[in-house]
């Protein structure tokens, strides 16, 4: 139970440094505790995912193995259009979020610093308003939108709001790491326009933060259910849910869920890998 030195995971090095037997025993006990904890939590996190994998490979009779559920993804009625809509929503959401946030954030750093606190408040506000509560006020707004356009793509307007806090944090970390003011003064004194300062000078210096914001907002749009379901639109999650309601044993929901999950995991893993490399080099 001792956090003696966080360095040196192997218990063998401990006695060499610390001759006292008490320390070595404590370190061994700590390592035992750690690996028991890692195993138990690892099982808790892995087993449900493995169960989904097993069910996506389940045949018509229990205990058989087949790939048919994976092949059904492209042919199952309504599923493919939901996948398409959701991917389009992810692209629209992440691009709009970036277009809205990146220039505004840079501009605030450079010219309207007094606005940075209210701006942060506005960006983090969606965290304190549950999506299901926001939907209540949104219903009238979306009734207006439906006069012009019925497509589920219109959901991206509100997904941008939901993505604001995550994108803001990612971008703000990126902006903090560079000297925006010096960069822009240098560029401006060399004759660059403001547009050029943003697009060609500052944005390339924070592309990892931009990538983070992009992937986080895309991941949000891929997994969103509450708003689409409540406003009676159909996206991937709503479609999976309704398939599960109507045909409870459709194994296609497991293969599709797993595919969507792996896709989202991949997006989010890219963030953590890119982020780690950044820290190592920079």
């Amino acid at each position: 139970m001792a956090a003696v030195t966080s360095l040196g995971e192997t218990p063998l090095t401990a006695p060499a440094k610390r001759p006292r037997g008490l320390q070595a025993r404590r370190r061994r006990r700590l390592n035992l505790f750690r690996y028991v904890v890692f195993t138990i939590f690892g099982l808790f996190f892995l087993l449900p995912l493995l169960a989904v994998l097993r069910f996506s490979l389940e045949g018509n009779t229990l205990g058989t193995w087949t790939l048919s559920a994976w092949k059904q993804i492209v042919s199952y009625q309504g599923l493919l259009s939901a996948v398409e809509i959701t991917l389009e929503l992810a692209v629209l959401t992440s691009v709009t979020t970036l277009v809205l946030l990146v220039p505004t954030m840079i501009w605030i750093r450079l010219r309207v610093q007094w606005f940075s606190r209210p701006f942060e408040f506005l960006c983090l506000l969606p965290l304190t308003i549950p999506a299901i509560a926001l939907v209540v006020g949104l219903a009238p707004v979306y009734n207006k939108i439906r006069h012009f356009e019925l497509s589920a793509l219109m959901l991206f307007w509100i997904y941008v709001i939901l993505a604001l806090p995550y994108a803001y944090r990612a971008l703000s970390a990126g902006l903090n790491a560079i000297d925006v003011k010096t960069l822009s003064e240098a560029a401006r004194s060399l004759g660059a326009s403001w547009l050029r300062v943003v697009v060609q000078v500052i944005a390339p210096n924070m592309w990892q933060a931009i990538l983070n914001a992009l992937l986080l907002s895309a991941a949000l749009a891929l997994g969103e259910f509450t708003i689409a379901y409540t406003l009676l639109y159909t996206n991937l999650q709503v479609e999976l849910y309704s398939i599960s309601r109507n045909t409870p044993n459709a194994s296609v929901i497991f293969s599709t869920s797993l595919a969507a999950l792996v896709f989202t995991f991949a997006l989010l893993l890219i963030i953590s890998i890119v982020g780690r490399r950044r820290r190592r080099t920079g």
Binding site: A2, A3, S6, F33, R34, V37, F38, F41, F44, F45, L47, P48, L49, A51, V52, L100, T104, I108, V112, L125, L127, T128, I129, P130, I132, A133, L134, V135, V136, G137, A139, P140, V141, I158, V160, I161, K181, E185, R188, L190, G191, A192, W194, A219, G223, F225, T226, Y229, Q237, L240, Y241, S244, R245, I253, F254, S257, A260, F265, L268, S272
Partner: protein, 291 residues
Amino acid sequence: MAVTATSPAGARPVPPVRAGRRVRLPAWLGVTPFLAYVAIFLLLPTGILVVDAFRTPSGALNLSSPKLLFSSTVRSYFIGSFELCLISSVVGAVFGAILAYAIASGNPNGAMRQLYIAASGVLAQFGGVTLAFAFVVTIGPVGLLLHASWFYTFPWGISVIYAYFQIPLMVLVFLPAMDGLKIQWREASESLGCSAWQYWRYIGGPLLAPAFFGAALLLFANALSAFATIVAWENQIAYIVPQQIYLAINSEVGLSNLNVADVLALGMIIMVAIVMTGYALLQRRAARWLR
């Protein structure tokens, strides 16, 4: 700012007449697109629901509608929400803290640490329909692992599912505080003859307490807003406020229910606001030591 929007580039001389004719736009105009967007899609809906909570469906002022929050049926949904959030955030906070300790006490560059941090980042986002499916086929009625008889009981069955995303969130939020515990404090206490229990009781515990309770509040708010998971778990019975809001919006009983939805939503926002304020205060308190 040495360089302003209107000053032309560098050393090139510019005819003064043209320069004078250019209109100098105020800098704050640059943030208006963002403000307009947020006003339409965040502030307007929030405003609509707050105003509508105090109006009858026909539009007249109705100050009695918030009384609805205290009617017995509505209260039961808030109690349901409270139970679920309390259980899942306590479970998530305790187990998440244990896992965070196991991670923090190891090699800071070790593979286990990297693996668990990356996985936590991913799993904390993983809620919703798929998660409910995953648990149905693991411990639910068709479970591969076991057929838990309590799977469809509220709040225990759903709390186990919520723990799946609450524990990783706790690891993400609490690990920095765990990492902030300095080895020197431990060593100093040991050289003064402290036992492990005394160390945690008088040094480690009090230092971590604000961060721990702050993180637990964040988990509480996180569980409060979750909706998709519980819908996919059980859609016949409404247990918590979000389910009731959904019913109030989409039931075919009539317009009168919209007002119920507004009041419930307002109640939820107030609840989250209180919890998040507590979180912010505790985080500030925690930051005092753990730098």
